[in-house]
């Protein structure tokens, strides 16, 4: 664990173990419905679209575009005190699903970030078990 890491840390669940193991290995893994032929997020065994459990895992390309973002000036948790201003975002993955993330290696100013801007995944190791998929300009 990085020294003094005091932000919320995901606790993998049976349905998300493979996702978080993937992130630790540098892969963004998505659930895929083999009936809908469509990836979805977040990981669940049963497809939230059709309700069938004919699902598998795929590895995403890591390419995405910015769907929206904000620039946080007042930290919601003591762990983010040293990070402000930071840039939470929703990105739309090349495979279709949207996921929440943070934009990194961007200037945290409204003019510096554009909606639909192309971004790509990077993995930030926060503990021995957990790496967070974040996104930076592609």
């Amino acid at each position: 664990m990085a020294d003094g890491y005091n932000k919320p840390i995901p606790i993998p669940q049976p349905e998300s173990d493979h996702y978080w193991e993937g992130a630790k290995a540098g892969e963004l893994r998505l659930r895929h419905c083999d009936d809908c032929n469509q990836a979805f997020f977040y990981p669940r065994n049963i497809c939230p679209e059709c309700g069938n459990n004919n699902t598998s895992w795929i590895v995403a390309s890591g390419k995405a575009k910015v769907h929206t973002f904000a620039i946080v000036h007042r930290p919601p948790h003591p762990g983010f005190m040293d990070d402000i201003p930071y840039v939470p975002a929703i990105v739309e993955l090349e495979e279709g699903p949207k996921m929440a993330t943070q934009l990194v290696n961007v200037t945290p100013e409204p003019e510096a970030i554009q909606i639909d801007m192309p971004v790509k995944v990077v993995f930030e190791s926060i503990t021995d078990e957990i790496s967070l998929p974040k996104f930076e300009p592609a």
């Binding site: 932000k7 919320p8 840390i9 995901p10 606790i11 993998p12 669940q13 998300s16 997020f41 977040y42 769907h67 929206t68 973002f69 904000a70 620039i71 946080v72 000036h73 007042r74 930290p75 919601p76 948790h77 762990g79 983010f80 990070d83 201003p85 930071y86 939470p88 975002a89 929703i90 949207k98 996921m99 929440a100 993330t101 943070q102 409204p110 909606i115 926060i126 967070l132 974040k134």
Partner: protein, 387 residues
């Protein structure tokens, strides 16, 4: 899908007969949240002229009715702890009407109490849920960040400048109403457009005055059958239309960041009531943020998507304007303890009864109260009428 013929058949069969806040709201460090429930419940029953022993249905959110009913000394025959954020207490009205209609109970008591200001302990939450795994680690926690992200998308679709202008209009008009409500947190504090635009950022694109207050407060509502309501102290405010639902929990699962579930609950509640938007004398629309009002007006069908800025332009929603909105001063300037929805109903009932003093509308026979909960996740809409 809701069956409109059956909904229309129960329209108006139940009525709100009591509403109240807790004795004190705003900063109440010397009372806990359950005490605020109990005070508000006691006050609402007194408003109705109904004894606590007659309450046979209890409703709450945040807590379970286990906790609230025991605290107040009530042993209910019907119990509902539906908890879907700040809209829950509006949704409870629909459930109370259904329960009364079906014979499960006759006197329903909905209570709310939260020490949002004085009790800053954060709920730890369930670590397996999507928010804990896929949003909180990125600092997407608490309402301002999620709502501001939705607002940024709206700006992209409909224009940043006109969105900003709408947000300023909503913040200022709501403050003007609060300046007429002695119980409002900002009763004595006016705000100018310059002050709005010069205020600090909480989570861009939200200035501080785009965000609701954080207060201590409680409120309660008493509902009974329309028949029994005739013999209560202040008479009936009839419940003509109700609707509820949700389309996501966490923000990134929201199908469209610029449309809420109000797109269903607005039309359903109005149709059930047999009225249209233009029949309404008052709209009480949950204002957790200025953006919440903008997106909700559009979703409910008061105007088309992207036209909200025109709808609220030129202080049309302020005192003296032709679309009275959030006349209590709302969550932005009156009170917001965390789940504010019940207070939209308290003000609507008081306006319909003609009890609101300096801010009383000249004509108020039909009102809409609308709650939003979670991260633009759930909505509940009710249409209320004074005969």
């Amino acid at each position: 899908m809701p069956v409109m013929d059956r909904l229309k058949a129960i329209s108006g069969t139940a009525a709100i007969v009591g509403v109240a806040e807790a004795d004190e709201i705003g900063r109440v460090p010397d009372k806990g949240p359950l005490e605020l429930h109990a005070e508000a419940g006691r006050n609402a029953l007194a408003d109705a002229g109904i004894d606590k022993s007659e309450v046979d249905g209890v409703f709450t959110a945040g807590y379970s009715t286990f906790d609230t009913a025991e605290y107040m000394g009530i042993t209910p025959h019907f119990t509902d702890s539906t908890s879907v954020g700040g809209s829950s207490f509006v949704i409870h009205i629909a459930h109370a009407m259904a329960a009364i209609q079906a014979g499960y109970c006759e006197v329903a008591l909905i209570t709310h109490g939260e020490s949002g200001r004085s009790n800053r302990a954060r709920a730890s939450g369930n670590p397996g849920l999507a928010g804990a795994q896929y949003e909180a680690p990125y600092g997407i926690m608490g309402a301002p960040i999620g709502y501001s992200m939705a607002c940024r998308r709206y700006m992209h679709q409909y224009g940043e400048d006109r969105t900003r202008e709408a947000m300023a209009n909503i913040a200022i008009s709501t403050r003007k109403w609060a300046n007429k409500n002695p119980r409002a947190f900002f009763y004595d504090t006016p705000m100018t457009f310059d002050e709005y635009h010069d205020s600090r950022w909480v989570s861009w694109p939200f200035h501080l005055p785009d965000c609701c207050l954080v207060t201590d407060a409680g409120a309660a509502i008493v509902i009974t059958s329309a028949e029994r309501a005739k013999s209560t102290k202040k008479g009936a405010v009839r419940i003509l239309g109700v609707a509820e639902g949700h389309d996501h929990s966490v923000l990134h699962q929201m199908p469209d960041l610029t449309r809420t579930w109000g797109r269903h609950t607005g039309p359903q509640a109005l149709e059930m009531a047999g009225i249209t938007h233009s029949d309404l004398d008052l709209a009480m629309i949950y204002d957790s943020f200025t953006y919440t009002v903008l997106v909700t007006l559009e979703s409910l069908g008061f105007c088309k998507p992207g036209e909200g800025a025109d709808f609220v332009a030129n202080q049309r929603t302020a005192p003296g304007g032709d679309f009275p909105l959030n006349t209590s001063g709302g969550g932005l300037s009156y009170t917001h303890p965390g789940m504010y929805g019940i207070f939209t109903v308290v003000e609507a009932v008081r306006q319909l009864r003609g009890e609101t003093g300096e801010r009383q509308l000249d004509e108020c026979k039909l009102a809409m109260a609308h709650g939003t909960g979670g991260t633009l996740s759930s909505t509940g809409t009710v249409i209320l009428a004074r005969d």
